[in-house]
Amino acid sequence: MARITLTVNDRERALDVRDPGEPLLFVLRNQLGLTGAKYGCGVGQCGACTVLVDGEAVRSCLVPAGSAAGRAVTTVEHLGTAERPGPLQRAFIEQQAAQCGYCVPGMVMSAAALLRRNPRPTGDEVKRALDGNLCRCGTHQRIIDAVLLAAGTR
């Protein structure tokens, strides 16, 4: 058992993990109840588990929880709620950019990281930024439109 301290959504959280190699994803979901990030592939190929670490989009299924200590972890839950969605989430809702919705939290977080470094992306820039996020339902066009709407470049 190892004790780690994480800063998640601006709150410091001290946690015991049995395996220091346990990916951040499972700590977020099972110990902190932040189930927005999803397990999709476990090897960083689908993007469903995307969160921000120090403002950068990372695949939380690949990051050992211990290595996130001392860094700022932001999950989709921090951007807003269903009742009070943040601006990017509002744009997704406006575009109804979800079918099954399993990929969507990861999409939102990859898009959030894009908008941090490039607040006014073009459509092609959005496509490139989301290249590592997969969607099986085929909601891509609405997701692109949602990000452009949030950026004011639609």
Binding site: N30, T35, A98
Partner: protein
């Protein structure tokens, strides 16, 4: 549980989940109200009116992401004279919702919604009768508006006061009058779906997120080869992880732990020795294996004399088309929670058929059906029978073994390796054009696995390994439909060579069979148009009699500014079109597409897609559009990139590198033209638009580059090879 209530308030979308938690568990279970009927000839099975005047709809059809959660309430609201904000929607809980059949085959609205709409219309009539007696007013002076029965002149009575909490006790009247489409207020509106906000906020509860009190995490260790027997397990190999219980039932091997990560790493670490498998044909051998059979032949269509007309034709061609096995490739691996204790079973599952699965679980575990409850909770994209029932059976076996609720989430490798696959399809087509440039003769022969008649459920992996008896057989869906040309052809024949087996366990995958058949038939139509040196659009319109078909073909072509010319074109951007009348009697759909081909790399770029779609009555146009977009992009992914790879032992395409999906840079612009026929019956929108996609793409590639692609997927290697 599973009682999803949603409220639309003033444009802003509010989603509230009422998770009623029994004291003992966080489990989302709600006791079934005493005396609640599930008989589908009773209005009370579908609908209840609370003392607060709110209406609860009980739906056997579930929302798999396709939007039934708003569309079915729209249908009910229309008949009840209210808005959807008054309606709560309970779905797919065998203790609460009637059996309306699986959510499959584009029947959610067409059958399920239509049935609930009729129940709502019956309820409205019953409410007006009751109110007429209570208010002592003639029935003709009463109207049901916003949860009140209002009489001309002012008197009114809330429906909560009228019947709140009590049963209506009336039979569903198939003749109860339906609202005249000219007066629709709710049907036909693009209302937002109630679950999208929570999905975007990350708080929507998927089956993967359900926590049941005392729940453990399980994982199943699959053999390294299909059909391999378990020889030996080394339990000491997971001792270091601590607290892991190994469960072995004959060849079924699993682990159970308190923490999800422990279960995952234990499943990976567990050392086991397996026998060789039963031997697979391998992906490269499928085509020859199908041809070899031996098949059982069936003639599906016979008009005129195709053989004689082909033999006597001057311009005759033949071609073969191949569609490989595909994975459902749902973005989240299958997951379920099972609680099997004291002769009772509760399953939380993303099952598309909770009532059917209830019977399956009862048979597998030897329980009485009434002691099994299956509760639907959203999964990650369901486009047919993926691994959801397998995962639930895994969880049930593990839960029974350890006596506690167990959650099983498959890994990505499990999902791509072991989900039941869309079956392979091989089609050989022959055709001839006459001197007037019309199709004179047509013959389709198809080699496909035959679905087992009356199979109670697809054989599941866990029970099979555990030696539990199951009815053997194949599940595929209706994969022989739409093998005929949708055009006037005097001499035509469609023959199926049914195969008794499949190279890997098959199951229904979106628009079963019709995507491959549409690919072959509509590609071959283009090949015949090229032989006749005719424009592909004009060639189709010349043979098309159905006015609804003609309309979608013309409107799809207009969406991409179709330029009439024979194919191939001058090079550069090519355009293609394809049309299908789904199942020959449902939705009409045509897709026109622009694509270009990079000769050096072999890459195909789809520039834009236009789809015209006539599914009769449209309940929620935005929902229909989303389904069309999804059908197009998912099928582009399948046609361009996907093929299940397997060797003699096992599936080898078990990650998203070896089983790639369409990515954002590949996404074209999509334009959709919905034909609104609000006076017609609804025909379904979840599948039809997938069926012309591959042919429209192949035809656009032919127009662009003069190469004819007949094997899916259209990989770069195949494109380069086609150039020679």
């Amino acid at each position: 549980m599973n009682r999803r209530e949603f409220v639309f308030s003033g444009g802003a979308l509010v989603v509230a989940f009422t998770w009623r938690r029994p004291a003992a568990a966080q489990a989302p279970t709600e006791a079934a109200p005493a005396g609640r009927t599930l008989a589908t000839d009773e209005v009370d099975a579908f609908l209840a009116i609370g003392a607060d005047g709110r209406v609860t709809i009980y739906s056997g059809k579930v929302d798999l992401g396709q939007g039934l959660r708003v569309a079915i309430p729209q249908m009910a609201a229309e008949e009840l004279g209210c808005g959807v904000e008054r309606i709560a929607f309970v779905e797919g809980d065998t203790a609460l919702t009637p059996d309306q059949g699986p959510t499959a085959g584009s029947t959610g609205i067409m059958r399920g919604g239509v049935q609930i709409r009729q129940a709502a219309a019956t309820a409205r009539e019953a409410l007006l009768d009751l109110a007429a007696a209570r208010l002592a007013r003639p029935r003709a002076e009463l109207a049901l508006v916003d949860g009140e029965v209002r009489a001309t002149g002012g008197a009114s009575l809330g429906i909560g006061e009228l019947v709140g909490g009590r049963r209506l006790g009336v039979k569903l009247d198939p003749k109860a009058p339906l609202t005249n489409p000219a007066r629709f207020r709710v049907i036909g509106k693009p209302l937002p779906r109630p679950d999208v906000a929570a999905k975007v906020a990350g708080t929507h509860r998927f089956v993967h997120d359900v926590v049941v009190a005392g729940m453990l995490h399980g994982a199943v260790v699959r053999p390294p080869a299909v059909g391999a027997k378990l020889v030996e397990v080394d339990e000491a190999s997971v001792a270091a992880i601590g607290g892991v219980r190994v469960v072995r039932i004959r060849d079924f091997l699993g682990v159970v732990a308190a923490a999800e990560w422990d279960a995952m790493r234990a499943a990976r670490a567990l050392k086991a020795r397996w026998s060789d498998g039963t031997g697979l044909v391998g992906d490269a051998g499928v085509r020859a294996w199908m041809k070899k059979g031996p098949p059982v032949d069936e003639t599906l269509v016979k008009r005129g004399d195709a053989a004689a007309a082909l033999a006597g034709a001057a311009k005759r061609i033949a071609a073969e088309y191949y569609w490989p096995m595909h994975s459902h490739a749902s973005l989240g691996p299958s997951c379920a929670i099972a609680d099997i204790r004291e002769g009772e079973a509760t399953i939380w599952s993303a099952s598309q058929a909770t009532h059917r699965f209830r019977g399956t679980i009862a048979r597998l575990l030897g329980l009485a059906r009434e002691n099994v409850r299956v509760i639907y909770v959203d999964g990650a994209g369901c486009y047919g029978m993926n691994g959801h029932d397998d995962a639930a059976a895994d969880a049930a076996l593990l839960s029974r073994a350890v006596g506690k609720p167990v959650r099983v989430q498959w890994t990505r490798e499990d999902e791509l390796g072991w989900d039941p696959k869309g079956p392979p399809q091989l089609l050989a087509l022959e055709g001839a054009v006459d001197d007037d440039g019309r199709i004179a003769a047509w013959r389709t022969r198809m080699w496909i696995p035959r679905a087992t008649a009356n199979l109670p459920s697809m054989p599941l992996l866990g029970p099979q390994a555990a030696g539990i008896e199951q009815v053997p057989g194949l599940s595929t869906g209706l994969i022989s439909q739409n093998g005929n040309p949708p055009y006037a052809v005097a001499n035509q024949e469609v023959v199926v060579h049914w195969l008794a087996d499949a190279p890997l366990r098959p199951s229904n995958l979106r628009a079963p069979g019709k995507i491959a058949n549409g690919f072959a038939v509509e590609s071959f139509t283009d090949e015949l148009a090229a032989v006749a040196r005719q424009d592909a659009l004009a060639f189709r319109l010349a043979g098309l009699g159905d006015p609804r078909g003609i309309e979608v073909v013309k409107r799809a072509a207009a969406l991409i500014d179709w330029q009439a010319r024979p194919s191939p074109g001058p090079g550069g951007v090519g355009r293609g079109i394809a049309y299908l009348h789904y199942k020959n009697n449902e939705t009409y759909v045509a897709i026109a597409m622009e694509a270009e081909v990079d000769r050096r790399s072999g890459a195909i770029r789809v520039r834009r897609v236009g789809c015209a779609h006539d599914c009769g009555l449209v309940i929620n146009p935005d929902g229909v559009r989303a389904q069309i977009e999804g059908s197009i992009l998912q099928t582009l992914s399948r046609a361009l990139f996907e093929e299940v790879k397997f060797d003699r032992a096992r599936v080898t395409s078990v990650d998203f590198a070896s089983y790639p999906l369409l990515r954002f840079p590949d996404v074209p612009r999509i334009a959709i033209d919905l034909v609104l026929r609000q006076h017609a019956p609804p025909l379904g929108a979840g599948e039809a638009a997938a069926t012309p996609v591959a042919a429209a793409l192949a035809n656009a590639v032919y127009d662009a580059a003069g190469i004819r692609l007949r094997d899916v997927p259209f990989t770069r290697e195949r494109v380069r090879a086609a150039f020679g």
